[in-house]
């Protein structure tokens, strides 16, 4: 618990949380207000009820990007500063130490994600959609899962790989997951072996786009596909196994 709290405090102290969150809030403000106009297929989207699923996609993506930026360096930095050695001397196992750091990463990602959702909620009220607040809160629960997936995977990979390698893998996983719909479309258009291979590869990406879509469904009061949520939880669980069993050579 103390290790996790230290991760949160450090991110606050280094202003990483502020900078990334302020940038995120700005983007949400631009999308939610008249400053920005969202045009899809030549049509301007002004109705907040219609806009909200799109906003959820954007906000979840931002939250994921923030989670990635903040989770990738936590473990390597700890080892670089040799804080890890102080921990070993207290008899704390590597598994517990890594899991505590990962929990800290997830908590920081959740804080910034919730701030972005709060901004979105404020704009919902301003636009006269205060009745949607409960549903936006429910959609925020799926954002927690979305960011937990990114944060846990980044934490797990950063234990065994140098930051640059884990960063590249995570960007591929994150982009592939967030834009999975586009990949599905591409795979559908491709014929022959290319299409078949692509369809298999897509299955390796966590369905982040699906989670955002379920968030949009929740916000609009439409039925939710539980399978997508369960699969997201399984990814977090698998990443958790990595965190528990991956070992760092320096330790």
């Amino acid at each position: 618990m103390e290790i996790s709290l230290n991760v949160i405090k450090e991110k606050i102290r280094k202003k990483m949380l502020y900078i990334t969150t302020v940038l995120g809030v700005l983007v949400v403000m631009i999308f939610s207000s008249d400053m920005g106009s969202l045009t899809i297929g030549g049509r301007q989207i002004k109705d907040y009820y219609v806009l909200i699923p799109i906003l959820i996609h954007v906000v979840n993506f931002l939250s994921g990007a923030i989670a990635l930026a903040m989770s990738l360096t936590t473990v390597p930095n700890e080892y670089e500063r040799r804080t890890s050695h102080l921990i070993w001397s207290r008899g704390i196992s590597q598994s517990r130490y890594h899991m505590s750091l990962a929990i800290g990463n997830v908590a920081v990602s959740w804080i910034s994600g919730l701030i972005l959702y709060a901004t979105m909620a404020v704009f919902a009220v301003v636009n006269g959609y205060s009745g949607m607040l409960g549903r936006i809160a429910a959609a925020a629960l799926l954002m927690l899962l979305y960011t937990a997936i990114i944060s846990m995977l980044a934490s797990a990979l950063s234990i065994i790989f140098p930051t640059i390698v884990s960063g590249v893998i995570m960007i591929i996983l994150f982009a592939g997951g967030a834009f999975r719909n586009i990949l599905i479309l591409l795979a559908a258009v491709l014929t022959g072996a290319g299409g078949t291979i692509m369809k298999r590869v897509i299955r390796l990406f966590p369905d982040l786009a699906g989670l955002s879509r379920q968030g949009g469904n929740l916000a609009q009061g439409n039925p939710v596909d539980v399978h997508v949520i369960i699969m997201g939880m399984i990814v977090v669980w698998i990443a958790g196994i990595g965190i528990l069993f991956f070992r760092r050579k320096e330790a």
Binding site: I40, G41, R43, S93, R96, N181, I182, I184, L185, A187, A188, V189, L190, T191, G192, G195, T196, K199, D225, V226, H227, I230, M231, M233, I234, W237, G240, I241, L244
Partner: protein, 297 residues
């Protein structure tokens, strides 16, 4: 037992529960979203009927939802859906008909792929569109009777796009036909038809025989299917979406194939204005221009 061991047991039990739930909620065969789209077609059919084309029903044709690898085929009989699975008959992203023995089947992408295209229309409207092609070909053998010497849709569109004179007169045709889509003004249908036919006649002189045959064919087959689709969208999504997606840009010339869809749809709307019953005797045995001319005699 050590705290750590208990923690591990709890962690793995949670994983086992999640994996079980994951398997339990995995959809096999036809997915729920696809089923809902088909159920929407069944519901719409009750309200929309045959849309004025005698004997037309999208439920008469087997409908395959394709993911490019597998087709999930719905055969709707006696109020029940019978679902079978087969290897995909087409690769890639397809909205088409498939001749299977004596009958035509409708093939559309699965919902998951369809929404990824960002398309405005409901997938159910695409089922109506494609099943109208199945109707044209099952009941009237449209493709068999029309397109022997024809050009492909893309080749024809490219030829017209490149020829300034043919293009300019087609733009004029669309402009005149566009009056029927103007919701703010009352259209004099007969006057519009006469003016349109004058331009069409002048333009026909510029077209080669294969261009004329092909253009008539695509306006008829795709235009009338687009007309049917637009009626479904109007019913499902209301006037605003209908006007936005089908009327707003219908009279604007667009490079590529889409102009034939819009042109044909506007011709059908013009015919509605001349005589709402035109469809009841139409046998897809002549061009839409011929039908318009007949009502102007």
């Amino acid at each position: 037992m050590k705290k750590r061991t208990i923690g591990m047991i709890v962690y793995f039990l949670t994983g086992a529960a999640l994996l079980t739930a994951g398997f339990a909620t995995t959809e096999k065969g036809l997915k729920e979203d696809d089923r809902k789209e088909y159920e929407r077609v069944i519901e719409d059919r009750k309200e929309l009927g045959d849309l004025g084309f005698p004997g037309f029903s999208p439920l008469d044709y087997k409908t395959a939802f394709s993911n490019g690898e597998k087709d999930f085929v719905i055969d709707y009989r006696n109020g029940e859906m019978e679902i079978t699975e087969r290897e995909a008959v087409y690769e890639g992203l397809v909205g088409s008909i498939y001749p299977n023995g004596d009958e035509y089947e409708v093939v559309v992408p699965v919902y998951e792929t369809w929404i990824a295209t960002g398309a405005h229309e409901q997938l159910s409207a695409v089922i109506w569109h494609e099943s109208f092609h199945a109707y044209q070909n099952s009941c009237f053998r449209l493709a068999e009777n029309s397109a022997d010497n024809g050009l492909s849709e893309t080749e024809l569109a490219e030829r017209i796009d490149r020829d300034p004179e043919k293009r300019s007169l087609y733009e004029k045709e669309l402009e005149v036909l566009g009056r029927v889509a103007d919701t703010d003004k009352t259209c004099d249908f007969r006057q519009t038809a006469l003016e349109y036919l004058r331009i069409a006649e002048k333009r026909d002189e510029l077209l080669s025989a294969e261009e004329k045959i092909s253009e008539d064919y695509y306006e008829l087959s795709e235009g009338s299917a687009c007309y049917v689709e637009s009626r479904v969208v109007r019913y499902e999504n209301g006037d605003a979406v209908y006007e936005d997606n089908y009327l707003k840009n219908a009279a604007s010339y667009a490079e590529g194939n889409s102009k034939y869809y819009h042109h044909g749809m506007l011709q059908c709307m013009l015919l509605d204005g001349l005589d709402p019953e035109w469809k009841s005797t139409f046998a897809f045995d002549c061009s839409l221009d011929d039908v318009i001319a007949r009502y102007c005699e």
